[in-house]
């Protein structure tokens, strides 16, 4: 009898691991009051870079979006770029042209030739937008969430379309850290569960028993209370949100002898160690995931 009970319990546990995940589970909707169209000016000058605080200078001013690019923003781009013929839809993928990288034949280096590459998939159930054959639209509730499931090519193309570009790793780091000190997180030295969206933070968008973690709206961690959930202000010194957690952010550097592109910031699925400002992640430029997004930089408007 006892053996049967244990066997049944074990079987139930194993079966529960095969339970399908409802990717369309109800999403809470919150207005954060943070405008994704806002840019922050990062002045030229020195700052402490990396884990060991090496002094580095960026000798020009630049502006960076204070939030990740949202699904609404990206969908608007997709519709505009599709209309202007800059995108192609092939095999359930939105693709676009890339001029290719110089190939040096290093070990494990994969050649990125000129050609069309995936921007976003259309058949991925984790995508936060829809395509009805002619128009792209946002899945309800995701309007102010960061755009995810977007490849490096797709992120770069968005920025270029509006005469912006992806930040270099150094630009990203300076924007996250500021010039005052060698802080590990955009807001300071310590991290609390309700200061950023990372693994098991128990935010209103997370249910670890079923679908796991989900993105939070951009700028969600701004000190406001949402339906009883009190956040701490996670803004950087320059007023940027989500520079730690929520989604990994593609950066623009193309390094010699490797095809990988680098991401910064950590995501909803990261432990806090990957939210430290110097933590890096990388992937092939065609990689996309529900935990990867981006933001852009631009030259300051005169």
């Amino acid at each position: 009898m006892q053996r049967t009970v244990w066997t049944l319990l074990l079987l139930a546990a194993l079966l529960s691991s095969c339970a399908p995940v409802n990717l369309n589970a109800t999403l809470p909707v919150f207005e954060t009051g943070v405008d994704p169209e806002t840019w922050a000016l990062i002045p030229a000058g020195e700052f402490l870079s990396g884990q060991f605080n090496h002094q580095v200078a960026i000798d020009y001013d630049y502006e960076i979006m204070i939030t990740d690019v949202t699904v609404t923003q990206y969908v608007a781009y997709l519709n505009a770029a599709l209309a202007s013929g800059e995108l192609e839809i092939v095999d359930d993928k939105v693709t676009g042209y890339y001029t290719g990288d110089e190939f040096r034949g290093a070990r494990h280096e994969v050649e990125i030739t000129a050609g069309n590459y995936i921007y976003v998939p259309l058949d991925d159930p984790a995508s936060t937008f829809r395509y009805d054959g002619s128009i792209f639209s946002v899945k309800s509730g995701y309007e102010n969430h960061p755009m995810t499931n977007v490849s490096w090519f797709g992120a770069r193309a968005y920025c270029l379309y509006y005469d912006y570009r992806l930040p270099t790793e150094l630009e990203w780091e300076k924007a996250a850290r500021g010039s005052e000190d060698g802080r590990p997180f955009p807001w300071g030295d310590e991290i609390a569960r309700n200061q950023a969206n990372f693994y098991t933070t128990r935010d209103p968008f997370e249910d670890m028993a079923t679908f796991g973690s989900r993105t939070t709206p951009v700028g969600f961690y701004n000190g406001l209370t949402y339906d009883g959930y009190q956040t701490l202000d996670g803004a950087s010194l320059y007023g940027l949100y989500d520079m730690a957690g929520n989604v990994w952010q593609w950066t623009g550097d193309v390094y010699e002898r490797m095809h990988y592109r680098f991401m910064r910031g950590g995501s909803k699925d990261s432990y806090e160690m990957d939210l430290r400002i110097w933590a890096r992640n990388n992937a092939t430029p065609t990689y996309y995931s529900p935990g990867v997004g981006f933001r852009c930089v631009r030259t300051p408007l005169k």
Partner: protein
Amino acid sequence: MQFIKDRFIYLFKSTKGLILVAIVMISIETALFGMLSGPMADLGVRDVVVRALKIDLVHAEREGRIIILYHSIAMAVVAIEVYMITSLLKMKNFYRTVARAFVTIGYLMAMIFGMAFAYWGHNWVLHGLYITGLSLIFFAGVFLTIGLWPWDKEYHIVDKAYAQTRGGVDMERVAFFTAALTTLISSFFGAIPASFYGNGFETFLAENIVRYPDKSVMEYSIIGHLHIMLTLIAVMLTLIIGRWMDFKGILHKIAMPLMIVGTIVLNLGVWGVPTPLEPVAHMVIYVGATPSMLAALGLVIFGWDKLIRTGVAGIKKPTGWQKFKALIRDPLRFGPLWQMVFMNFTVSGLGILMAVRLDEVFRMWPAREERVELTGHWHVLAAIIATIILLYYGDMLGFKGKLRQWYGWGIIIASNIAFGAVTIFEMKRLFISEAEQQPLVNTIIYLMDFGLGMLLVILALVMFWRLVDLFNRKGRWKTEEKQELSGEVK
């Protein structure tokens, strides 16, 4: 006073006492610092521990802390191996005593002062004492290696059942000597870069730089060092288990030369990593790993065959089922060999799969996924080594009957569940998408936590019993005081 003196003599002069102290130290460190990461951090236990113990977790120093943590645990494991070797093999008393004294003081210093430095602020005196501890362990290795010198006529063997040269040189002793000597040399590949990176606590974890095409000599050196040191600990343990099981016969004669050649070639490959030979180093490592693993396979076949033969002795025509029952009737002797086999599923097999399909599969995933595989498979290897030691330790404790069964099978089953779950976790991207993984991940995490939790509970129970036993005037410790492992070879 006599009470303390007797216990002190047992704990720091007898083989089994020394092993017990090292296991206790590892247990305490694992239990304490295990609360700072993983599920314990998620559950909020870490915050409580950090506050209660006033631990100073500077975020920029995480990598340095972890390196010291790994080293301090590894040093205690090395000490256990030194105690076992010096108890199992004949050795001049001087070398035996000095090796034991140095390794004991060394690992305790490394553990206590290293961890204090890493987790309770940067007092550089503590760091100096930590380095002194590591240095003492190195010198313990020097004395051990000299003590193992196999060409001394005193250690020649005449029993033809064991691998030997025509002149009677004990090939098994040569294998021990080779592993000890190459361990000493390989330690430089960590010590030199450590002096470089440790100067100012500026360091890195190898798993974070694997994809960078251009690595410095120091970085390559560390990558080589961490791989070979764990491998050599495993090689040494395989030899120890072989000695405990009185490995002999034709398989011994095949296995020992293979182990010697494998160890040398493996090391040559790893030493080539920080040199211009790096592009071919991997191939050399594969060439070296193959005979080493074949030697271990020889031990497994010998050991299992012995278990079966002993178990069915007296049965005229044993059936397959009877043979199987004979094989698994003693988990403490079946277990170490099974763990070596199981390692192939969770470590070697995975490593080979990764090597063969690296660019096509694993490097299509983000670096953080690759990191999970890298750290996962060597954590499992380290933990398997620990379980093999614990199984052997169970035999040293003289567990009999149901206690032996519960202890042995408890360790085997709990560890296999945990390590199997870790392996599925590492490979999950092969069969499930990121968006749909959570229910599977939950089950895997439960299994991991259950397995590791059970292991720690078993360990805690044994340690508690040993503690209570020390208060008993005629306790188990009194029996163990004079026992040597060479007297328990069977």
